[in-house]
Symmetry: C2
Subunit: 465 residues, 2 copies
């Protein structure tokens, strides 16, 4: 590859990435459906521009999936690259220093929604591929790209596609750059992801809102009822009041726990720089990393009910609702947990209130086997550029499609270039530009090393795949 | 007066009232400021049309006040009529069967925001006045009208005016038709109003929203913290956890309690037809009427925080807020209670969260002395039309201006024509048209009887006032 590529082309690359990040591809908001399609079309055009003979949209019931194939090299190993072009919603909008879809450089970072989750990382891989197209030194490797648009919204489209056409995941390895460094200077590979069980709770106590003057003190208030219910779903000590959660979960192994203790984790700077709060909460009997990686959690993502406009309205609300989710660890499935959650909510609801628990979506937790040679190859690439091999971490987040990507037996390499303070899903999401330039070289080198290693081709694999 | 007036003019009156109710005079929403002014101007034009030599707007810092004077009759008693032209917000809008500002007749009722609170009742008094302008039989009475536009929003403008110009309340009696019947066929006079202490609670736990994947289980969640705090402010049994509230309050007298027991109150139909819930809540040691009329209450009017759009966003919210109010009974003042509330909230807030309690407005509870002869006159008017004299009740609601209206010593007569199921402050607010037609006759007769009684003019009163 051309190792000087990123440095030489910085200004053009920044323009291109700015263009890509300007498209507000929020998958979860129906009004942005056409923006999601524009993002996908941007990728197809870009991949065609990079010489992919196949670069196309695959329609789904939701947002389209981008599929592309590099020019085939008979006998060479195949790498499947996964990413997503959709982004999270942007609220609270007023906390953004620059508008979320007007990418802006401040310091050595580029700020925009999707800067690192995951458009910036997808872009990094495209540019690593471009850098590898370096005349005669082009590595003998077949790369397939699959880039979806519903990762932040349940990822149903790609699940359906891969169920119907599992051969798309036939490869010697799957590379997913939707994760990040453990700390600055500490590249990482992810060995496990928490699952997710996301639900809405709708509660009704009256047929209509009432005037608190006339009925305050006797009419059941839906917000009060919901507030009481939610406060009882989880103890202040962090324990979720669904006992089965804790008896069903599989604890991490002793050696994994030990390796986590060796990571450069500083609770104080974690609290100050990342969490930006005054204290860490949660189950004190477990370390912070265990709480994030190895325990289920219950979070309230949003709540609404009654009058929330400017000023004062003295209403007793008839309805209230909340969005909640549980993060799941090995031993738990979203279907089981969804049932337990619904039952727990129903049990906590007074007989005079009507409650409905709507499961919006779920993904199961994932454990990734990192014993295949491809992980050594990646570690070598990082070490060559960053000066340190990868460490093994878990992630508290979920990437719904991971199990399907590995369903045909290819090892799934989950890594990435984000830094802990990049503000994924938050206002002022950013990508550190040095991470981007380094990342282009890291993945370019990875393509070379992986091609040289001959992949892990099993007997079933067909390089035309 | 012309006793056939209402029946004869029904169709015109319905048109006029429809016109008045079509103006969305929501005082609490800044975007409706010009609608409030239009409502006030509508009244001025109407009062001029009824021959008032004085009918004008008095500007305030908020919405204007309507002031009008009937043609003076030297030596005749003076009656001050108070009302308000502003209305409550309309949400939840989707529960309205017909749009709130498209007044619609269904059955024998007219549905619209403000139909009975208080535009419909103001209109009833205007028409009673019009009916009394019946040639030679016109009662010797000086009527002053004061109709404000901020009753639903703290009523600061009229307070300021009456502090500056208290002589406007010099009268032999003040008539306030902003209350209603105790039950169909049971006209009432109100002897007490609860006060109000309305506040917003703002809570922050993080500098920015976080991703629940990365931080779920350790980052303090603002919605969870607020939910826990609110659930602790009031016990499920109904007792507010501010002990001083209960030691400071003055309980109703034995005789008042006894008289409440004689009222035709059916808990079951109250629950079914008015509350529209499955059960009554609150402090079981007190009767339902005592809970509404003689105890303080704490209600959550609205709550918001985190992501509340369509779909799923896995955010840990940094901010959350709620609107709450306490209704106050004799012995409590809003200033004292506001301090107690702020202290209680602060005590319940964990050290790692920032909380702010903003007092939006307050009114003190009111007790009205109903021993003056004007109350007998009103009872006689009701009995003549409806067949039953008035009963004494209290109201759980607040009308901030009442104390100022009585500050010059005039007895304040708080009554009205609303029915318990009229849906004040709720979707599908209505006025029963028979109540309106009856009300026009009742108040027309009241004007006659009050004029004939000569009022209660004291030595200070000047009929030119």
């Amino acid at each position: 590859m051309d190792y000087t590529f990123a440095e030489r082309e910085q200004s053009r690359l920044l323009d291109e990435l700015t263009d890509f990040l300007s498209i507000p591809s929020i998958s979860t908001l129906p009004e942005h459906a056409s923006d999601c399609r524009r993002s996908a079309e941007w990728l197809v055009a870009h991949l065609q521009g990079l010489g992919c003979p196949v670069a196309t949209l695959i329609e789904t019931e939701g947002h389209p999936i981008v599929w592309a194939e590099s020019p085939r090299v008979i006998g060479a190993p195949t790498l499947l690259i996964y990413g997503h072009y959709d982004v999270q919603p942007v609220d609270p909008l007023d906390e953004w220093i620059s508008p979320p879809f007007t990418p802006t450089v401040r310091g050595n970072s580029l700020f925009a929604r999707g800067a690192v989750d995951d458009k910036g990382q997808v872009y990094c891989l495209l540019k690593a591929y471009e850098a590898s197209l370096d005349g005669d030194r082009r590595p003998p490797l077949n790369i397939n790209f699959i880039i979806e648009g519903e990762e932040e919204h349940g990822g149903e489209g790609i699940e359906t596609l891969l169920e119907r056409e599992p051969e798309r995941t036939k490869a010697d390895a799957v590379l997913v750059a939707d994760s990040g460094y453990f700390a600055p200077g500490w590249p990482a590979v992810c060995t496990g992801l928490r699952g997710l069980c996301y639900a809405e709770i709708h509660l009704q106590t009256l047929e209509r809102d009432l005037h608190s003057g006339g009925y305050g003190g006797v009419a059941p208030n839906a917000v009060e009822t919901l507030v009481r219910l939610l406060s009882r779903l989880k103890r202040e000590s962090g324990w979720i009041r669904i006992p089965k959660l804790y008896t069903a979960l599989e604890e991490p192994s002793k050696s994994e726990r030990k390796s986590w203790k060796r990571l450069p984790f500083d609770e104080e700077s974690f609290l100050r720089d990342e969490v930006t709060g005054q204290a860490l909460t949660g189950i004190k009997e477990y370390s912070v990393l265990e709480r994030i990686w190895a325990l289920p959690t219950l979070e309230i993502h949003g709540i609404s009910g009654g009058f929330t406009g400017v000023g004062a309205k003295t209403v007793i609300p008839a309805h209230a609702s909340a969005k909640v989710s549980l993060r799941l660890v090995p031993g738990l499935t979203y279907k089981k947990v969804g049932r337990w959650l619904a039952r727990a909510v129903e049990k906590l609801t007074p007989s005079w209130a009507a409650v409905e628990v709507r499961l919006l979506h779920g993904t199961n937790p994932v454990q990734l086997d990192t014993s295949a040679p491809v992980f050594d190859v990646l570690s070598e690439a990082f070490e060559a550029v960053v000066g340190r091999p990868t460490v093994s971490i878990r992630s508290g987040g979920s990437i719904p499609v991971i199990p399907s990507l590995g369903a045909e037996g290819a090892p799934v390499v989950l890594t990435g270039i984000s830094l802990p303070d990049d503000g994924l899903h938050s206002p002022n999401e950013k990508i550190d530009l040095q991470q981007l330039w380094d990342g282009i070289e890291v993945f370019g080198r990875f393509f070379e090393l992986f091609a040289a290693s001959g992949g892990n081709a099993g007997p079933d694999l067909d390089p035309e795949g």
